[in-house]
Symmetry: C2
């Protein structure tokens, strides 16, 4: 059986557009002698679409589009993901019954599992973690089995086609290690000739490696081939933007596999499936991917697709001379013609000649548009208007003179740059401006709201500072193949340059200690069992903090005393759980690259910082109180 | 049996603090001869705490606190909600097994349901809609029953106490109308003497009325009393702030009930429960609550608690002379001493004497601090720096002259007010500044990012413009009992006053048509089956749009032709699904008052506006294309 996996770009929320492109692909496949074409999970509606699932007009549109695809299934079997409606039943939220389903159309008809109540395959395992909330909108097969008073194993059945028997799975159905039921195991005991997993699996660094391991082991165990087709494109749930890398794949009955290349692009993978005989593919498992290369590819892809989504063609990047804005500028330079990228340096009295020169050097090397707009006059005006201002009660009974302190003036500068200059400049340039915050800064809110935290997208906000440096080097060495980011940018002391205390020429800068704080913050945010101060202090006292954090240095070299260590820990923990949260609520969308990007994959509440009793005990013991 | 319902304020994320207050309450109750004290669901950890459920240190702390409460159960039965841990099992996300549980402690021991595997009552129905995501973190009793290969009805059993048999329920367990199982029905078939529902049920306008209807019907059907204890306080999941109004209640066996008053306050409700005999309470069901009064109470309570949460004591409100900022100012005036509230008017050349006078009149009537800070100089400076600016490529090969258009200059003014003046002023004043956007503006993004959309909290952003007017009137008539908000504010044409086209003295203002657009937008956002353009246009053509929207006027009076109607519909739908989403992503937290507050209760993705095929057909037919 000649099968085509159609790794397609899905435009979430635009069913007709997706369907039109699928119809064109079906026609092409039919002409090429393909007997079965498979599209990804939720190929018609898109997968991450917020609560748009609650709009009946949208649901009816998706249903209608599904019918159009059914009509195309003459001479070719068409498999695709769509929302399946049962308008007579309700979900547990009282809304109309919806399933996340795989439709199999042959000769103008939908064919469902042999023993199921519906003519489509229903997703059994609905992920409800990280950014996923399938169970918010869809009824799963387990609930249906309870409702129908039938054993689940009866409802999980293969789909009989004319020339083969298909074991249908949707994404999570094959990631069953933590569930008490295994759809794949149930299907394995049937006469399915092959297994087809249609997925909408967002890119997460290192996930492909894991999937190849898991899926090829499964195919080998089942002694039957497993086909996997995934989306490309981007989808977001507001705060967090996810890219889809495709990497659709065929796993043969012996555990070998063949990938659909390239990643992050529409492509097809054709396979001749010997029905009733084992499939053998050449080649071993791919080696672990090039870490920084994949990260850089995901960054460029996600940013490019987000520009397309927002229909943005021109971008303004505020460049400070530091590495974060340099990396952002360089990334956009790969995506835009030089005349559509404007770099702007906005010096105040605190900016050194060093960074101003570096900023201009960057613009020269990136060969794009550049401007220098000082903020001195405006900052002085704000100071004049507010510092020393006398406010009073309307009846004159009380008055008070206001003053702007040093920290306040730092924030005035940051806001002046973004909300006054960059926003107006972007408007005049006919585009948007970027947020250049990294994950280290975002974690502890070392950033000014309406200042450097403003922007239409924070595309490097899922990268720790050290990862930003690594991307900078990679961009020079591999992507540009030349010095695009000046070396001075990378050797510079990281500094906001908002006060004399942050003079880079004197080696003074940010209060963050790199890379130690990267590792510390990562343990709070990205570590599987997210660490809290009691864990950190416990490891410190046990002498294995460096090992736990994966930090190559020695923590005792950074903090001469336990008191200093604890003061630092609490300072940043307070920021992470305090102002950090408040700032992230108003932060721009973050491009997700790894597990636990801020936003929908790292949900949080403003609650104020909290310490456990065990922590307090450890601390008291340590400080000898 | 003498029972006390302890309607307590829960501080989410702070288990020790909550536990200490519960211990104090237990001691008081014991002294008062109470035999059973009941605290709300998740009284120890809090209910809406984001992904903090993934931090083991936090979970251990909650467990430890539960143990402390157990120790207090000598001479009194102590019932409370907490997370229950089974460290040996896993949830389906691979994380440690957690249940949302009711603990019943008697004589120093926890007692569970007769036939359950654990010494606590596990929540059966986990809500997974609106702001709820219980199933993201907790394993429910249905999944446990499947895992244990036991019928669910066997696991739902009453808790035997020495002097009575308790039927335990957690919140959603009693809201079973859309579920295929009813824990209450199963419990009804047991020998339970009474039912106790511990809840963490956020305030939603009109929900209490519904609960009283549902719960008293249930108690009457069961012929046994139903006790309900709910939290007070606020909890948030970042974007959306929910208040809890308490209103704990006893429903007697005949359907009568008695409420714990007041709402939105810590209180206790004592009840003598005749074991084995019916309970009779005097009085009929309360009448439907005073709509605007409840709304106003919820606004004041939520705002006050959010101030406390953020430890904010001073507030700056930018006042335009319009109704939104006047209502916000008046609300804060109820919560702060006069010297801690600063109202500031920030005129530009486009602001009329009318609004400037109204703003000052408001400040006079609210008797608080006031200032007037013009933005003219700064706006002129921004124009000088950017309008006409020549940008060029670093090698001089290309150049371009930028210009700031009219709309751009409007946004420059709005950002100047918020990000330059208000932010600096708040900092100098030692406080925060507010966001005064209403729900109508927020829906269609009729607001400037980093401008009037900035602020620490958007407390009226769940109110349509007409509701803001109603609150204004209510504040004058009932809350202040005098003219606090000048009548001129309410009769003024709503206008942003950012250009000559918005001259209020000439009756020119915002492009929004009140109250029609309020009703239109509400159908997109708050209506149960959320409307889309195809619904709206369909109703328009059927002549029943007014009825569907609840709009008292005639739509044909607003739009002379179908083409004009369609142009308006599409203009605002494009804004709602387009820039509106992008702006809401960076909006401040919204205080929720009703169903579908923006943020976590109305989840959305940036996808660009979309229209169904059916809409296109209707439109073509209407326009005669």
């Amino acid at each position: 059986m000649r099968i085509r996996l159609a790794q397609m770009e899905v435009h979430p929320g635009h069913p007709r557009e997706n369907t039109a492109r699928m119809i064109a692909q079906i026609a092409t496949a039919r002409q090429a002698g393909i007997e079965l074409i498979a599209f990804p999970e939720m190929a018609i509606p898109g997968y991450i679409i917020g609560d748009e699932w609650e709009r009946h007009a949208f649901l009816r549109e998706c249903e209608r589009c599904g019918g159009r695809l059914r009509e195309q299934s003459h001479g070719i079997v068409v498999v695709f993901g769509n929302v399946a409606m049962d308008w007579r039943r309700r979900n547990e939220d009282g809304r109309v019954r919806k399933y996340n389903a795989m439709f199999v159309a042959e000769a103008g008809h939908f064919t469902g599992p042999r023993s199921g109540p519906y003519p489509y395959v229903i997703k059994t395992l609905l992920p409800n973690y990280r950014e996923f909330d399938d169970s918010r909108h869809f009824c799963d097969l387990r609930k249906l089995a309870l409702e129908e008073h039938r054993p689940l194993s009866e409802l999980i059945a293969p789909v009989p086609l004319r020339h083969a028997i298909l074991g249908g799975l949707l994404c999570e159905d094959a990631w069953d290690m933590d569930y008490s039921v295994s759809p794949l195991q149930i299907l394995a005991e049937t006469d399915a000739d092959f297994f087809l997993n249609i997925s909408a699996s967002p890119f997460t660094f290192n996930k492909n490696h894991k999937r190849n391991r898991v899926f090829s082991a499964q195919a080998a165990k089942l002694h039957r081939p497993l086909l996997y087709v995934n989306q490309v494109g981007i989808q977001n749930n507001g705060k967090t933007v996810f890219s889809f890398d495709g990497l659709s794949c065929v796993y043969d009955s012996l555990g070998g596999h063949r990938e659909c290349k390239p990643a992050f692009a529409e492509a097809v993978l054709d396979i001749d499936l010997p029905v009733g005989k084992p499939l053998r593919l050449p080649g071993p498992l791919a080696l672990r991917e090039d870490a920084i290369g994949t990260m850089s590819e995901a960054l460029l892809y996600g940013t490019r697709k987000f520009l397309e989504l927002c229909r943005v063609e021109r971008v303004v990047v505020g460049i400070s001379g530091g590495v974060d804005s340099a990396v952002v500028a360089a990334l956009y330079r790969r995506l835009l013609p030089p005349e559509n990228l404007l770099l702007v340096n906005m010096p105040s009295r605190h900016n050194s000649q060093t960074t101003r020169t570096l900023a201009l050097d960057l613009a020269r090397r990136l060969e794009c548009m550049v401007a220098e707009i000082p903020i001195e006059d405006s900052v002085a005006l704000t100071r004049r208007q507010i510092d020393g201002l006398e406010i009073h009660r309307a009846d004159g009974s009380q008055s008070r003179t206001l003053s702007l302190g040093d920290l306040a003036m730092e924030n005035v500068q940051a806001r002046d740059r973004s909300s006054r200059i960059l926003a107006a400049l972007a408007s005049a340039f006919g585009g948007v401006f970027t947020c250049n915050a990294n994950k280290s800064e975002l974690t502890v809110g070392y950033t000014t709201l309406y200042g450097d935290l403003g922007g239409y997208l924070a595309n490097i906000a899922d990268l720790w500072k050290m990862e930003v440096y690594a991307i900078a080097t990679h961009l020079n060495e591999r992507v540009f193949g030349r010095i695009a980011i000046p070396p001075g940018v990378m050797s510079l002391t990281p500094s906001a340059e908002l006060s004399p205390a942050q003079n880079v020429d004197e080696g003074k800068g940010d209060p963050l200690i790199y890379p130690y704080h990267d590792h510390l913050f990562r343990s709070w945010v990205e570590r599987w069992d997210r660490a809290a101060p009691e864990d950190i202090l416990g490891w410190y006292l046990d002498g294995n903090l460096e090992e736990q954090l994966g930090y190559a240095g020695r923590v005792r070299d950074l903090f001469p005393t336990p008191a200093a260590f604890i003061a630092d820990l609490e300072r940043w923990w307070n920021q992470y759980q305090g102002m950090g949260v408040a700032k992230r609520i108003q932060a721009p969308p973050v491009l997700a690259l790894k597990k636990r990007a801020f936003g929908f994959d790292h949900r949080e509440s403003q609650m104020g910082p909290t310490y456990t009793e065990h922590y307090e005990e450890l601390k008291a013991k340590t400080l000898g109180n």
